[in-house]
Symmetry: D2
Subunit: 467 residues, 4 copies
Amino acid sequence: MARGALKIAVIGGGSSYTPELIEGYIKRRDALPIKEIWLVDVEEGREKVEIVGAMAARMVRAAGLDWKVSTTLNRREALAGADFVSTQFRVGLLDARIKDERIPLSHGVLGQETKGAGGLFKAFRTIPVILDIVKDMKELCPDAWLVNFTNPAGMVTEAAIFHGGWRRTIGLCNVPLGLIKTASDKLNTPVDALTVRFAGLNHFNWHRVWDTTGNERTAELIDLLYKPGVAVDDENRPKNIANIEFPYEIVRDSGMLPCYYHRYYYAESDMLDDAIKKFEGGKTRAEEVKRTEERLFALYKDPALDHKPEELSQRGGAYYSDAACELIASIYNDKKTEMVVSVANNGAMPDLPPNCVVEVSARITAHGADCYAVGALPTGVRGMVQHMKAMEQIIIDAAITGDYDKALHGFALNTLIPAGSKGKKILDQMLVAHKDYLPQFKDAVERIEREQPDTVAYVEGLLGGKG
Amino acid sequence: MARGALKIAVIGGGSSYTPELIEGYIKRRDALPIKEIWLVDVEEGREKVEIVGAMAARMVRAAGLDWKVSTTLNRREALAGADFVSTQFRVGLLDARIKDERIPLSHGVLGQETKGAGGLFKAFRTIPVILDIVKDMKELCPDAWLVNFTNPAGMVTEAAIFHGGWRRTIGLCNVPLGLIKTASDKLNTPVDALTVRFAGLNHFNWHRVWDTTGNERTAELIDLLYKPGVAVDDENRPKNIANIEFPYEIVRDSGMLPCYYHRYYYAESDMLDDAIKKFEGGKTRAEEVKRTEERLFALYKDPALDHKPEELSQRGGAYYSDAACELIASIYNDKKTEMVVSVANNGAMPDLPPNCVVEVSARITAHGADCYAVGALPTGVRGMVQHMKAMEQIIIDAAITGDYDKALHGFALNTLIPAGSKGKKILDQMLVAHKDYLPQFKDAVERIEREQPDTVAYVEGLLGGKG
Amino acid sequence: MARGALKIAVIGGGSSYTPELIEGYIKRRDALPIKEIWLVDVEEGREKVEIVGAMAARMVRAAGLDWKVSTTLNRREALAGADFVSTQFRVGLLDARIKDERIPLSHGVLGQETKGAGGLFKAFRTIPVILDIVKDMKELCPDAWLVNFTNPAGMVTEAAIFHGGWRRTIGLCNVPLGLIKTASDKLNTPVDALTVRFAGLNHFNWHRVWDTTGNERTAELIDLLYKPGVAVDDENRPKNIANIEFPYEIVRDSGMLPCYYHRYYYAESDMLDDAIKKFEGGKTRAEEVKRTEERLFALYKDPALDHKPEELSQRGGAYYSDAACELIASIYNDKKTEMVVSVANNGAMPDLPPNCVVEVSARITAHGADCYAVGALPTGVRGMVQHMKAMEQIIIDAAITGDYDKALHGFALNTLIPAGSKGKKILDQMLVAHKDYLPQFKDAVERIEREQPDTVAYVEGLLGGKG
Amino acid sequence: MARGALKIAVIGGGSSYTPELIEGYIKRRDALPIKEIWLVDVEEGREKVEIVGAMAARMVRAAGLDWKVSTTLNRREALAGADFVSTQFRVGLLDARIKDERIPLSHGVLGQETKGAGGLFKAFRTIPVILDIVKDMKELCPDAWLVNFTNPAGMVTEAAIFHGGWRRTIGLCNVPLGLIKTASDKLNTPVDALTVRFAGLNHFNWHRVWDTTGNERTAELIDLLYKPGVAVDDENRPKNIANIEFPYEIVRDSGMLPCYYHRYYYAESDMLDDAIKKFEGGKTRAEEVKRTEERLFALYKDPALDHKPEELSQRGGAYYSDAACELIASIYNDKKTEMVVSVANNGAMPDLPPNCVVEVSARITAHGADCYAVGALPTGVRGMVQHMKAMEQIIIDAAITGDYDKALHGFALNTLIPAGSKGKKILDQMLVAHKDYLPQFKDAVERIEREQPDTVAYVEGLLGGKG
């Protein structure tokens, strides 16, 4: 890897999170000899990336640094000679997420951004783009590292590594950071005085916790977090996940601590009831986020603002960007920091195929993530994670090929979507609704439009004719 | 194994299927030198076993055979010195099955006898009994083979082999027989001119089909059976499974032919709609079966009847008993017949742990089932079967230990039961409803009765106070 | 697969074994509607193939059949439109085998044709040719089956399947046939009344034996064959393997019956002593075989001879060709005959990678070999077979690439060749001696000739300057 | 684990290495709040342990510490309440090692202390003792950690963990430390600036090396260490391993760096030639070591000596004891130090069974070693390590059961011992020679003594009648 004078490219640079990323880099000014930061976005995001770019430049200047901050709609210009590329783009922006949630919920089914129907469509929209990025990288920056935090991060990372052939990809998520913070809060013990080991998939991981005397504290934490009458809410819970109680008995029996998203699996009926209630009350998470975003961009426009505003932290997704900077600093400096990352399995989880992506605890070295060996998982965790991985792999294949059969097969495997006519209806409607961002599914969409006028009418009715 | 003068013990001998079994043995009179057949049942089944025993004796006599047919309520008497033991008992009889179906359906959830909530409770009631039988066999007939066709056959067989330590157990089911017959019908080719290879779990297997020229006919069969506008109903479909259309695209993508029960997974919402409609119309499968049974026993009482009545074939479960006789004849004569059986995996399906039970194609030899190596399964099938096996294993553990946490964990893993409050409600109600047959769950039942008067009241209301 | 009017191509048709093959086909005249048999050989073998071809034609005529028997030096002509291709060629003929044995033995090391230094060089000479044949087959007879019995059959078959991409390859060997016959003889039980299950690699397999009552007879056979003071020689032992006693204790502990070749591993020092004694007495197996061959061809020349002469049976390698005919008849007629074959592992032996070739018991169907699942092997067998497979794979890679490092690495892994200077000396001398048949090793040979005049001189001295 | 006031028990405390261990503890006085150190030995070692104990006490005093240093022949007294137990005992002392080497060499076979015939007998003598120690620990110090550096460390550790059931065992060896130092020396880079990852078994591991920029330096190191004409000797090579050149081509092809002991496998014939030459010159390694030991004890007796003498470093086995202290300090302080240790595999090396011991890179935490996931090994390494593990497991079983068949089977699998009559002769002679320390082999020894007078005579002749 080149030493010094680093060029960093941020794909989806117009994101409202970018100031956090810039702050993360500024904090690590001594560890990372940055020369240029390029914020890339697409035409639809031109205004945003310009606002954010100007804000980033002010932040850098205020920190007394001479880094060049550029914005561009030409991805190739940003990638040329880059040392690190981070991806945080959102194909179709938040409007797509609104559809991801509204269509399933209108049928009484969870849309759920990362592993529900919404997440699968996010994979369909995103995976072809990540493969394009990887193709460009092979040509323009063949030694660069790709740090992905575009969701669904596990599937997107698997596509980049195993379908794009870019082994120097690491997927990152802030969920483990929140869980570690929670363990620390509840046990009243500093993060550094705990050993936390994760295993699973992105947004579908489990962990165990030990203290410095070698005692496992997992069972105690399960009680503190989930025992009825004892537990109080975990304030690190992401804002997009409802405060639904976990079934204590299951968590206790599973032998590991679940992540926030496991509510969708261990407390499925309650999460659904809650989501439907909110949907009927007119609130989807996506629309709420959209309003927050608008407020943030109003702030960013202020030419006097030269530091990350407090409001951003409340956006959800906290620590994300900071974690990305830490990951990059750890690679660059061979720091061997312990992080939880999405990387090639390679035997770390023997219950899954070696050539897939898993989310596990690892040490981040200059040559990549050295994962800890997880060993065989407890029975229940094993079954859930094997099933989810199969679904992910079929969805990745569908995203790449545009094969309708695979898309429907993936939907049927998804435990949040009822298989059968209902799931098919949702799939068809979402294909029509998202067609502008799904060129690979062109044939399927045309067939549906031709043969199923009801489907088209439903989508138009629900979304106000903006397909 | 002893040669000649065979003693055969039939646990659950009072079953309405017994005449089919007797017919099967009579057909194989030359292959099996039977001396005694013992029909065992419990006190509750005394009347039935006596009726069936008399009928069986008449059948044997009519065939000109000198076999001794005995009935007993003393299982140990029947097991002593037995060469083959077959199990077809139903703990709690059909009344239990009625509860298995009504309680879940009253919450809009599938009861489904083998893999749904009903099947799990059938496992809870049956597994402790099979372990008792195995314990007796170790003492009383240490060289005997155990042929199990009590459902859920996969879990019961796994308990016998891996928890009871009785390696000479083979689980049997008639579903594969129906599927092979269907392949033969649809391809208009004799069964002997097809090679059919199964892999999966009981009531959850997939198969592929080849002809005598080596051409694989799987895709063609998928079209014949499931292509919209082409397929007509499969008349071998078991009567307990509604004629709901399979999603053709998924079956095509899965690369294998599903079994009848896969409708519950690939067409979940439609199966549920259908079951609820029937339930609201007052019909559960269990009640229908109960009426059929009553008609059959009325016939069996007729002292003139000395052969299997035609009505039995319409009972559902056809071929079952004949298959059991064939299995026993194949073991006794080292015939190496090809059959589909539930046996120790031992690497036949590398996607599952070696020490669990799978349902695969095998040759039946005098030393047991020699399974064909299945190899790695297609992605979707792999994920489903791994998930199901984990659920089965947790349920088996719950059945043995009476651990409430494990029971709830197994319920949460079951894709037909919504995890969360709803699933827990169903579990609790079923525990109360079945308490007489669940001694291992005594503590849990007492706690529920103490703490949740609503649960008890609901059960009484639904089932007419006969909990 | 085409039906009727079969064309069969025999690569290495000039082999002295061909009459046995022809006899095998004649015996199966009713099962196989043969139209043409093509015997292919290379220029060096022109005389032999013509003699054998004429003899084969006489045999066919004497049987009253109208099959066309052709000989050719143009392999493509024979392959065009073939239904079955069998390979029994020997690159470099017996002169090469003489070198394979003499060079190692001159250093006190076993040459051993199949797994020793000689076998490795046979792989080096043969694998590039099999890959050429497969390339031709893809073009000229894309539906044909390839039945390989060229040694080292396991490695050659693995190259064809996994490097050539020809999945319709089955490797065949007569060793298991001899072992089954031995079990039958020693237990005084017909072959049909025994179930014999093999696992391992070609010339490196183990087996277990059961009778029709399900009793395992393995331990008894170990006593009958190997117990000091009890055992007498096994007359099915191939003539090329010295009658050295197996260490009874090891065989007993291994839990399985070894094959003849295991003497090289379990009784290494004694086999070596014996081979050196014979070598010093001037006798190598290769030279003995050469003399037998000469006698056979003298017989074949007799225009009155129209059936397989008795002398051929004494040649060693008996049953081989008959087994090949049986294999082909079983594929063609979907007979599901049980045979021991070298085929893709695909999980049959979980101790080895799925994508390698193993030698196991299987049923031969029209769509190929359906292997029985072997499951985990006993510890000692497991370690030996894993080690041997690694050696085979490195040797296959060396044979394809001509990479000297890999060749030396494979030699070092071979337990019959002492790693270090001595092994390297043997490798170098053999490369020089065989250079005419090793175009892929051209660079290595030239380097040795340039840098190591001693090596060249040694070879010339030993082999009379005919390198 | 208890905090503060640590009690440490050293089994084999009379070893000449003990002063290095004491020095290691003194160096870590701030990290380890030691209260007592107990040196345990057997009657035979009484004099030595008293000399060393006195010396240790002087060292502690000179360091100004108040630790209590005790010596005892009563192991249970030392174990009672211990926090850490380290094992460095040598059953039969150096006289046993002399026999281990002389008997095989007298037959032209390598004795080799750890993986050759000598090592196997060391396993036979040691494993029953370690299992006894573990039994005592369960009773007397159930929370203690066992740090084993008695050779053969891998097999002894596997016995403790998987046969003794003591999961809190970590095996330790100084070989990796030497290899890391060598990498650092040759690359002229500090140890801290390299990432070195090990995989394999004790005295049979391989490693790869990266620098802080993420570049892999393995190939470069192979050139620096083994390329003919470039490489110079590695001064960290243990004194017991002859300076025999590695075959450069094999190391290059293997893709990993070998350990010193791999000379026995990659350069077998040269190592053997060298050992025989030395043996004929009257020098075995064991006798040399014995003389060094005598010199050391002479020094230790000096009441003025209160620090580790320089001569000890030249003894071979340097760093060993220091590594043990570091391991203990890392457990006690949850330091997460990266070390190479022998621990339960648990999937770290997927090429080996999960329930065996492997030697891999790990982080040492308060709850044990967290291993890095190694993933699939290169082909050659895979085969060698799988074979060696099978041999180790058979030898462990032989050591526990005293089963002669298993002992001979293990000998046959050992690639340094020629299988067959010669190997059997060596086994029998060694059993007789070591009989005093092999109570589990009593029956076998008596049979040999009864039936094979030659064997007894040979041993007496070779060893001067001191059998």
